[in-house]
Amino acid sequence: MARPTYDESAIIEVRGLTKSYGHVRAVRGVDLQVARGEVFAMLGPNGAGKTSTVEILEGYRHRDAGEVRVLGLDPGKQARLLKQQIGIVLQSTGVEQYLTVAETLVMYSGYYPHPRPVDEVIELVGLAAKRNVRVVKLSGGQQRRLDVAIALAGDPEVLFLDEPTTGFDPSARHEAWDVVKNLAALGKTVLLTTHYMDEAQNLADRVAVISEGLIVAEGTPATLAGRDSARATVTFTLPEGVMPPADLGARRSAGGVMEFAPEDLTVALHRLTGWALERSLSLDSLRVLRPSLEDVYLQLTSPTRPALQVDDPSDLSED
């Protein structure tokens, strides 16, 4: 990967970041650059170094080596100044159980020089109906909204969301995603970590896959690790005893499904469907498959890292 160069539009700049805990090298030379207004996802399995990296950016931990700038500040030396301008949603966080939503936000916004009005924040995360409810009475999804609201209290430029939906049920996850989309609409820069593929795909402008303390791929969710240009696989089924044209090179896979990976997809599909039309055959279950983000991710983060396989891709096209 090319070394990022410093740039004024970059809100977060990281070069050669390393961090060890005893003999464990959690972060082994991470380079990152996040532009203003971008939603950037760090995708990786547990223990890959996501949280260590983010907590160094937030000023919670000291780095061993490397250069880090967040809003032009060094989190290791200018933490107080930095904390006035960032919002943090931690992985596991708590709030005083006996305060109401509004009281909690009044309290946190009092810590910042230029807070965003409390009612505006409550509205933004969709907790207006729970304004005067005590934290202890909120559901998991609502508590997460409150977490985000607290992170927004100081009207920060940058938001760090560390695994914002881990352990959530599907509806709570979608609630949380909506909140993140609102943040992006406000023009905030968001750096989130996740080990959910669909989360990165849904929320992020750019994704970096981190594995064993290193960034192994970076790009938009659609193009990550050459997903878009990887050769597609065509699969279909035929009636018993019927064989497709030999020049397509299709072979019957284990489940009786025919499949082939053509060099030119358009030409090959035309040839196949034309052939079927001539014979009045229906190509049941015709599908065109490309590697999903999950395939790319699993391949990039597996310990052995074999070459990208498209043998068993999941479906990209919705049936």
Binding site: E58, G59, Y60, R80, K83, Q84, I88, L90, S92, T93, G94, V95, E96, Q97, Y98, L99, E103, M107, Y108, G110, Y111, Y112, P113, R134, I150, G154
Partner: protein
Amino acid sequence: MNAAALTFFQMRFVNKAFWRNPASAFFTFAFPLMFLVIFTALLGKGEVQLGGRLIHQSAYYVASMTAFAVMTACYNNIAIGLAFQRDAGVLKRTRGTPLPSAVFFGAKVVHALLVALLLVVITVTFGHVLYSAEVPTGISLLQFLVMLVVGAASFCALGFAITTVIPNSDAAAPIVNATILPLLFLSGVFIPIGDNAPAWITWVARIFPVKHFADGIQAGFLGTVFHWSDVLVVGLWGLGALLVTLRFFSWEPRH
């Protein structure tokens, strides 16, 4: 906001949360009064020899339960509360905001001090009405207040410091009680030690801050001699606890 205004601002929320937490409010206020009634009912008829004076035991208990109330409100409440806040991630979150650490701790100390003052007023009024206990006045009131403020702050600092050896919130109450209860007994807070106690008990009481604090608080009620050295010893414990806190305090759950 300047630091003082921010401390007061923060304290308002500490206070709100305190009164809405039934456990903290109950243990802090009900325990000292309950103990006062029980101990006085059990042992309140006799007299105890203290520093050459014969003291009526009901008066003794008003004074020592006042000291007990202050120590509980500061040491127990702060240590257990902090351990819970640390496990729940409240501390880590606070650490991620620009709120200065000194303001966060300062608000807790000021709040504990105000709770302690309220407890003193309640315990003393209760004792005065029920057991006709004497109330400190004049110079002894002043001495009492100095001891109260120094003691409350020091026991708060000890509460901060003990969290550095509390592994998780489940262990908080046992560790806090294991450290304070023996000292309360060995310092004569529950059962008067008198002048003829075994030497080792006298030594334990002399080393740790509980007896010094209780003596300082009792002086105003019982007419015993007020020693500034008691204030000094308690203050030194507080200072030591503060240093331990600054060096070893953890904002994140310990694993």
